[in-house]
Point group: C2
Chain length 558, copies 2
C-alpha cells in the first residue's frame, strides 16, 4: 500500500499555494482551463473521447451499498444515446447505504486532517488527468458546449474543489493537535496539563447535485465534507449522473489504494421523479447536506433536514442596472455573451435589465432604451449569427421545461429581441435557442420572478435611483446570485455598491471586456454570499467549511 506520508509530502506545495491564494484572493488556478494539446499533449483529446465512448452502453463500474438493479436515467441534450447503467438506489435502500457510509468513518477520522487533505487533492489530480473524458460527460449530460464543459465542468470545478479543501484545511488546523498548558500559581509549581484537540466529523454528508453544473456546484461541498472527515453520499440529478459517477469512482479508487473504505464516497442514482433526496436528507445519521437546485426544494430541505447542517445554492433573480457607459458596444457585447452562455441556464445569468426610460449617456452620445436594445440585438447577432460558433456558446437545452418556458415567455410582454432556433452542425437532435429579450413594465412583477433559461427582461424605470430601488426589492425578496451595474458616475457606482452591501449581493461594475458577470473565478471571486434568499452559503468562505467538523478535546495532568 502506498504511503500516506508520501502523499502528504507530494501535495504539500500545492496545498500551501492554494492556502496562500484564498488569503490574497489574487488570481490563481491550479488546473489548466484550456483544452489545448499544447497543454495536454496530442493524444489527450482523442484518448478522452475514446474513454468517454467506452463508458456508453455499459454498466458503470461501481458498486453502491443498498442499490437494487440498475438504471440509466440520462439522455444527452445533443441526442447521443448514453445508456450508462448505474446501480439504482431505491428509497428503501437508504438505511443500508447510510449504514455502509458510516463504517469507514472512525478510520478516516483517525487519519487526521493532513492525510485526508492529501487524499482529497490526489482525487482531484486524478480527475484532472481525465479532464477530456469528464468534459464529454459534462457536455452530454448538461448540454454545455464542449469548451464550457471543459472549463467550468473540469478546470474551474477542480479549482473550486481545491479552494474548498484549502479552506477546510485552514479551519481544521486553526487549533493545534496538542497543547502544553501551564498556568502559573501564586506559589509553587504551575498547573500543567497536556491537551489534545481532535477534529471529528459531523457524520454522513449528502451532496445533492444539479442538472446543469454537476461537478462545479457539487465539488466544494463534496471535498469540504470529505477532507473534514465525513463520509459522503453523492446523489446526482438523474439527468446528470455521469460526471459525478466518474468523480465517485476516482474517489473510491484512491481511498481503496490508501487503505480506506471506498464506501466513504458513494453514488446514489435515482430515477427521475423518485425523490430519493428526501429520505437521504432527513435520515438521522445524515448530518450535512449540500444542495444546488430550485429554491422550493432548497427551502424544504432547510426546513425539514433539521438533523443536518444544510448548505443551499438556490435560485434568484439577477439584475443589471444600466445607468451610463463609456463603451456601449462593449456593454452590449459583454451582456450578449452573458445572456447566451449555456443558453442562460446558469444561476448567475442576468435576467432583469433596468434602464432609465429617458435613455442613457454613452460614448456614442445619449441613447434611448430602443437604442440600447438595438445594440444588444446587434451584439447577439454578431455573437450567434454563425451556427458553428453559436453552438459553442449556447450549447443545447436538454430540459423540455426550459423550452416550454421560453415559448411562454414570449407572451409575457413585448418581444424586444426574438429567440430563434439554431441548427447544430454536428448534433441534429440538439435543441439550440438564442436568448429572448422581453420588455416588461416596471409595475409587472414578472421580471422579479426567476425565468430559468435563455430569457431576459428589459424594464424601463424612472431613472437610476428607481432602478436601484427595483434591484433592492428584487434581491431582498427573491434573492440574487449576481448583480451588475454600468455607470460612468462614481457616485452612482458607490450607491450601487451600497445597495449591494444592504441586500447582500456581490456586484460586478462596468464589465465590457471578456470577464462576465455570470462567471466567478475560484480562489478570488466568491460565488453567492449566503446573505440573501438565493443561497444560504458562499463558495467558498470560512463559514462554508467550519461547521462540517467539531473539535473534541482530551486533557490530563502533564
Amino acid at each position: 500500500m502506498p504511503e500516506l506520508n508520501a502523499l502528504v509530502a507530494q501535495h504539500a506545495a500545492g496545498l500551501d499555494r492554494a492556502r496562500e491564494a484564498i488569503r490574497s484572493r489574487d488570481y490563481f488556478s491550479a488546473y489548466a482551463e484550456s483544452p489545448s494539446t499544447r497543454v495536454w499533449g496530442e493524444a489527450a483529446p482523442t484518448d478522452g473521447l475514446a474513454a468517454f465512448e467506452a463508458l456508453r452502453h455499459k454498466p458503470f463500474p461501481l458498486d453502491t451499498p443498498g442499490a437494487a438493479g440498475t438504471i440509466a436515467p440520462e439522455r444527452s441534450p445533443y441526442g447521443l444515446e448514453l445508456a450508462v447503467d448505474y446501480p439504482h438506489v431505491h428509497n428503501d435502500g437508504v438505511d443500508t447505504l447510510v449504514a455502509a457510509a458510516k463504517i469507514g468513518l472512525p478510520q478516516w477520522r483517525d487519519a487526521g486532517p493532513a492525510a485526508r487533505t492529501a487524499v482529497g487533492i490526489e482525487i482531484l489530480a486524478r480527475i484532472n488527468a481525465r479532464s477530456f473524458e469528464f468534459a464529454h460527460a459534462v457536455m452530454h449530460t448538461t448540454g454545455q458546449p464542449f469548451v464550457m464543459a471543459f472549463q467550468a465542468g473540469c478546470a474551474h470545478a477542480q479549482d473550486r474543489a481545491l479552494e474548498a479543501i484549502a479552506y477546510a484545511y485552514d479551519a481544521m488546523t486553526q487549533a493545534p493537535r496538542s497543547a502544553s498548558w501551564e498556568k502559573p500559581r501564586g506559589k509553587g509549581e504551575p498547573q500543567r496539563l497536556a491537551k489534545t484537540f481532535t477534529v471529528v466529523p459531523r457524520g454522513v454528508a449528502l451532496v445533492i447535485g444539479c442538472a446543469t453544473f454537476p461537478t462545479w456546484n457539487s465539488y466544494p461541498g463534496l471535498f469540504a465534507s470529505l477532507v473534514t472527515g465525513n463520509p459522503v453520499i453523492v446523489k446526482p440529478h438523474p439527468r446528470a449522473v455521469l460526471p459525478l459517477a466518474l468523480t465517485v469512482a476516482v474517489a473510491r479508487d484512491v481511498l481503496t489504494e490508501y487503505g480506506f473504505d471506498p464506501n466513504l464516497v458513494t453514488l446514489a442514482v435515482e430515477d427521475v421523479g423518485q425523490a430519493l433526496a428526501t429520505p437521504l436528507a432527513t435520515h438521522p445519521d445524515v448530518r450535512i447536506v449540500d444542495y444546488t437546485g430550485s429554491s422550493g426544494y432548497g427551502e424544504w430541505l432547510e426546513a425539514n433536514a433539521r438533523q443536518a447542517r444544510v448548505f443551499t445554492e438556490k435560485a434568484g433573480v439577477n439584475c443589471v442596472v444600466v445607468d451610463s457607459t463609456d463603451n456601449l458596444s462593449g456593454l452590449a457585447a459583454n451582456l450578449a455573451f452573458s445572456l447566451s452562455l449555456c443558453s442562460g441556464q446558469m444561476c448567475t445569468t442576468p435576467q432583469t435589465i433596468l434602464i432609465p426610460r429617458s435613455g442613457i449617456d454613452t460614448d456614442q452620445g445619449h441613447r434611448s432604451v430602443d437604442d440600447v436594445i438595438a445594440a444588444l440585438a446587434a451584439a447577439l447577432e454578431g455573437l450567434l449569427g454563425e451556427p458553428a460558433r453559436a453552438v459553442n456558446i449556447l450549447g443545447a437545452i436538454g430540459d423540455d421545461e426550459v423550452l416550454h418556458r421560453l415559448e411562454r415567455a414570449a407572451k409575457l410582454g413585448d418581444v424586444a429581441i426574438a429567440s430563434r432556433a439554431v441548427d447544430h452542425p454536428e448534433f441534429a437532435a440538439a435543441a439550440v435557442r438564442t436568448p429572448l429579450v422581453v420588455r416588461l413594465a416596471v409595475d409587472d412583477d414578472t421580471y422579479a420572478r426567476e425565468c430559468f433559461g435563455p430569457v431576459a427582461f428589459v424594464v424601463e424605470t424612472d431613472g437610476t435611483p428607481a432602478s436601484l430601488d427595483v434591484w433592492r426589492r428584487v434581491a431582498t425578496e427573491r434573492g440574487s446570485l449576481t448583480a451588475s451595474i454600468y455607470s460612468t458616475d462614481a457616485d452612482v457606482l458607490a450607491a450601487a455598491e451600497n445597495v449591494a452591501l444592504d441586500v447582500g449581493v456581490s456586484i460586478s461594475c462596468n464589465l465590457t471586456d471578456d470577464v462576465y458577470v455570470n462567471q466567478t473565478a475560484a480562489f478570488s471571486d466568491f460565488h453567492g454570499t449566503g446573505a440573501n434568499p438565493a443561497a444560504n452559503a458562499s463558495l467558498t468562505d470560512v463559514a462554508f467549511v467550519a461547521d462540517r467538523f467539531r473539535i473534541v478535546e482530551s486533557r490530563r495532568p502533564a
Copy 2:
C-alpha cells in the same frame, strides 16, 4: 470625539496576543482572576461594593427602545433586596426594539472589522476595570460565592469574550479587503480587475442569557456578533439582569463615545414567565440567536427561529468513569470540589459516577464502591465542614425548583451521601446545601436524565467496559458538556478517549489536583463541542464566529 484609529492602535497588541493564544491554545489570560488588592489596589474592593450598592433601589440608568414602564424582577439568592428598576420590554414592544437596533447597522458595518474589534475590546477593558462591581452583581443574582463570581463572572467571562473577538477578527480578515486580480491571457494584456470584499453582518443578533452564568455564557455570542457588525439585543434571564445591564450600559457608553448608535447594544428586560424570548427570536429581522438554558427551549429555538442562525448551549448529563487511580484521596477531593462548586448549578458539573461493582484498584489497595463513596464523603466533609469555607464554594441556591429537585432526588434511590443545609455566616436568608449523592441501579434510567443542582448519582456497573457503554449511551442520547475518567491503565484511557471522539464529548483524565472537570480555561479549553445533544456550538471555535457575517464582493476593471 476620540479617534477610532487611536483605539485600534491602543488595542492592537492585546488583540495580537489573543490571536496567538487561540492558535497555540496554551495558557493565556488577559484579565486577572484574583480579586486581590495586590492586583487591583487597596480601594478596589470597597469602591466596587459601593458602586454595586449605589445601583440598588434605583432605576437603572439605561433606555431601551420599545420599553414601557419599569420592572425589577430580580431577587438575590442571598436575601439582599436589589430593587433595581429596568425598562420593561413587553412582548408588543419587540417590533420597535428590533427596528431601533437596525438603525445603526450601516454605520457600524461600514466602520470595518478593525474598528469594531477595537470597540469590542474597549468595552471589555471598561468592564474589567469595574470587576468588583460586576462580581457583586453576579453574586447577588446567580447565588455564586463572591470569589467564583469574580473569577467566572468577570475575568473568565472577559477572557471568553476576548477569545470570541479574536476568532471573529481572524475569520473576518481571512479574506483581504481588496485584491488586484490579473489573469494572464495567451496573448495580449492580462485581464485585470480591482476587487473589494466587505464583511456584512447577518442582521440583528439576540443573546438570551441564563440565570446561573449571565456573563460567562452570554459574552462569547454577544461580542462575536457585535464585532462582526450585528446590532445585539441582550435579553437576560429575569433573575440575572444586573450583570448584563451593566455590560450593556458600558457597551452603549463606548459606542456613543466613538460616534456610533448606542442602540447597537440594547437590553430587553422581561418579567418571569413573560416569554419575551419567543417573539424576539422569531422576529424576521433577528438573524442570529445565542442561547444558554434548558434543552427544551433550546430545541424549540432551533426548530422555530428558522430565520436566524441559532447557537445553543443546552443541558446534558455529565458522566465520570472511575476505573482505577493512583491517588484516591486526590480523586475524591477533586470530585468533591466539582460537585460542590456553585451548588452543582453548572452545566459542566458531573452528575453520573460510574464505578465497577467489583471495586477499583487504588494507591490504597483495592477499594469497594462503598470505600470510594466513603472517600468522597470524607472529602466533602473536609471541604464543606466549616460553614464559612463551605459557602465560599457552594454559594446560595436562588431557584426554589432546585431546592425541590434536591428534596425529590433523595427519594430516587439509596442515599449514599446526604445533603445538609449550611447556615450562611453573613446572609441568614441564603439557602445553602451540600451535595447529595444517591446510588442508582444501572437499569434505572434516572441517572441518564439531567438533575440540575447539587445532586450526583453513583451507578455500579459490570466493569469499566460497561461503564464506557453507559457513558456512550447517555452522551449520545442526552448529550454531555463534560466527561471525566480516572484510570491508571493507558489502554482504558485510550478506550475512553475513543468513546469521547465517537460521542463528541471532550474528556478530562485523572484530575486529582486543582483543575476541575467543570471548569474550562478560555483560549485553551473548548467549552462544549457542538457534536452532541447538549450544545450545537462550542465556545469558541471557528464555526462559532464564521457564520455571523457574510462577504459581499465588488469587482470592476482595473
